[in-house]
């Protein structure tokens, strides 16, 4: 609505939800620096991410029927102005990201105290919120260039957050530097792709881009743009051959950061990939179908087997979980490549299920590192027996990682196998099950270290303080709960998948 409109009706709080989702953490981050008080920093961060979570839930309730919310920043109507557009998919991913942030913060309070030097605490919470802002913004916005801006906000703060692990292990610095270089290359590729799209269509609004690409068909520029965007986002999402930055970054970052990133950062990149593959370009184009069949399927199968295989031989638990994350991203990309509604909903539901599972596991490792000082298997001997609740949470999450029936992980793998059968790809269905067996091996190694070895004689480890323990137990419980009640997760994922497959037809103004 233009500002000059005489019949102007003032907006209510509910109308502003899409922008508040991003602006609340965005304002809280500089506020923390401006106030500069260590205790207040945590409180502000907590309030901001809890508010973001509530907003995401409110919006998901509004768009669950397949509709969408559009918000015009500055009152400028799209496609000229910047639009925030929330549909079932984005609301679902927003809920995951803000939910994980809210649950990680109480955990971070204790964990950060022991892992990060005191003078950096306020900066830590400010960066955490900036990272959250970036991830939420990438998902909420309906403007392609805005995606890039938020991608950079989240990436730059992530590099610093990873480097904050240097207090414990200076290798965090090289890990952060690696990530910086790879992440920057990814972002550059992405923005080159956007530049090509802008050149050929003259617009940056995602819905408008879709219309114009559909009108002009697949010319060289559009194909080049597609390639650049897929490679750029593939780098950020740690798609198999582009995953090199991930293991070190996850291993040496502070526990709270690993938990947050492991559950959200790659997921937001996969969201952007989905958005571009289905809402901007559409699967009818031959180049996209070939990319999915000839590149995504082989590489995701490779990821499922090779990364799991590497995970089996790790000697550091955090590193093992990092490799397992790469394998799990393989499942998500495989679901996308199936190009049917079931496969897409498997990918989308796996975003959330895997997010919860990995967050619970990384939290467990973080709690053990609090006592053992490192995540090497040798230092974790028998800790599951000394820390019964932490151990139990890790067992529940471990089972979900394998995909044992009755856990969240089972639901996503089950739907994925169903999707493979729908296409008649029974070899791939078997491959999914075989690769789960590799997960059994590495999760078993974790159980063996935690329970079947004798703890050190003088081991004084006990369960961590409640602020760390409760988030972990909530997540472990969620891993089981969402294995039985799939109404929220799988239900929303199906609506989201159908919305995506409807393509640009569902996005018209």
């Amino acid at each position: 609505m233009s500002a000059a409109d005489p019949h102007y009706v003032a907006k209510t709080f509910m109308d502003h939800l899409p922008i508040l989702q991003v602006v609340i953490p965005l304002i809280s981050a500089p506020l923390i620096i401006f106030i500069g008080n260590r205790k207040l920093a945590w409180i502000i961060a907590m309030i901001a991410s809890a508010a973001a979570f509530v907003i995401a839930c409110l919006m998901l309730a509004q768009v669950k029927d397949g509709s969408f919310i559009s918000y015009h920043i500055g009152g400028w109507a799209p496609p000229l102005g910047i639009e925030y557009r929330i549909d079932a998919l984005s609301a679902f991913v927003l809920m995951l990201i803000s939910g994980i942030a809210t649950i990680v913060l109480p955990y971070a309070y204790t964990s950060v105290k022991s892992e990060i030097p005191k003078r950096l605490h306020t900066l830590f919470y400010a960066l955490f919120l900036l990272c959250l802002t970036g991830l939420l913004g990438m998902v909420a916005t309906g403007d392609a260039f805005n995606v890039f801006v938020f991608l950079e906000i989240s990436s730059l703060s992530t590099y610093v957050l990873v480097a904050m692990g240097a207090g414990k292990d200076t290798r965090a610095l090289t890990a952060a530097y690696d990530y910086l270089i790879m992440g920057t290359i990814g972002a550059t590729f992405f923005v080159i792709g956007l530049g090509l799209l802008y050149m050929t269509t003259g617009t940056l609004n995602i819905a408008d881009l879709a219309d114009r690409i559909a009108n002009q068909g697949a010319n060289r520029t559009v194909q080049a743009a597609f390639t650049f965007i897929v490679v750029g986002m593939g780098l950020k999402a740690a798609m198999y051959p582009l995953h090199h930055w991930l293991p070190n970054a996850y291993t040496y970052a502070p526990s709270a950061v690993t938990t947050f990133l492991g559950a959200t950062a790659t997921k937001a990149a996969i969201y952007v990939l989905l958005r571009f593959m289905f809402s901007v370009f559409s699967p009818g184009f031959h180049f996209e179908d070939w990319t999915l069949y000839l590149i995504f399927i082989p590489f995701s199968l490779l990821a499922m087997f090779a990364a799991s295989f590497v995970a089996v031989f790790q000697t550091n638990l955090k590193r093992m979980l990092a490799f397992s994350s790469i394998a799990q991203i393989g499942y998500m990309l495989l679901g996308i490549a199936m190009l049917n509604a079931t496969g897409l909903s498997a990918s989308i539901v796996h975003l959330v299920n895997h997010g919860m599972t990995k967050a619970a596991l990384f939290m467990g490792v973080g709690a053990m590192v609090l006592y053992s000082g490192s995540a090497f298997f040798d230092n974790l001997n028998g800790l599951g027996r000394k820390m019964p609740f932490t151990g139990a949470a890790m067992v529940a999450a471990g089972l979900s990682l394998i995909g044992v029936p009755g856990t969240a992980g089972f639901i996503s793998k089950w739907v994925l196998v169903q999707a493979a059968f729908e296409n008649g790809w029974w070899i791939i269905a078997i491959a999914i099950m075989l690769s789960s067996l590799l997960a059994v091996i590495y999760v078993w190694r974790m159980f063996e270290v935690l329970y079947l070895t004798a703890p050190a004689e003088d081991c004084t480890a006990t369960d961590p303080p409640l602020p760390m323990l409760i988030p972990m137990l909530i997540l472990a419980f969620a891993c089981i709960w969402f294995g039985f009640d799939t109404e929220l997760t799988l239900g929303s994922a199906r609506v989201a998948a159908e919305g995506l497959l409807a393509g640009s037809a569902g996005m018209a103004h």
């Binding site: 500002a3 500089p30 401006f34 920043i73 500055g74």
Partner: protein, 146 residues
């Protein structure tokens, strides 16, 4: 500190002019080339020049690093706060029409000024912070060893 006499005298004369020029670029941004980013860089140049000629300690006496960090945050708050203000007035985020509903173009004017001020403050802070961060590193060799 008695060498570089000419540099020191000229710097003292220039610093004021540079700051004045920064304000000019800042507040004429909507009429002529310029705006918050350019003004912020020019403003920072004044402090960086002072730091280069008179030494980092003197510069930090004038513009302590805690203040620099607060300014970085303050600028973002001004920018985002402008958006929130328009929101509280019942308009969309960053819809400057909110500041003068009868003449939206005047409202745009005020909105742009406020937002550009935020940009200027943050850019000044960031530029000086980067200079301090690099200049504060222990030198690989002493000045006398050259």
């Amino acid at each position: 500190m008695h060498h570089h006499l000419i540099l020191r005298v000229v710097t003292k004369m220039l610093v004021g002019a540079i700051i004045l020029f920064a304000f000019y670029v800042q507040f004429h941004g909507d009429f002529s080339p310029g705006g918050g980013f350019q003004a912020g860089v020019i403003m920072a140049v004044a402090f960086i020049l002072y730091g280069i000629v008179f030494g980092l300690n003197k510069a930090e006496q004038v513009f302590p690093s805690w203040l620099v960090h607060k300014l970085v945050a303050l600028g973002v708050l001004i920018y985002a706060g402008t958006g929130v203000a328009s929101m509280l007035l019942g308009y969309n985020y960053l819809d400057y029409g909110a500041f003068n509903p009868q003449h939206p173009s005047h409202g745009q004017h005020w909105g742009i000024l406020a937002v550009e001020l935020g940009v200027g403050v943050t850019v000044t802070g960031v530029m000086v912070a980067i200079y301090y961060a690099f200049a504060n590193r222990p030198p690989p060799m002493k000045d006398e060893d050259w």
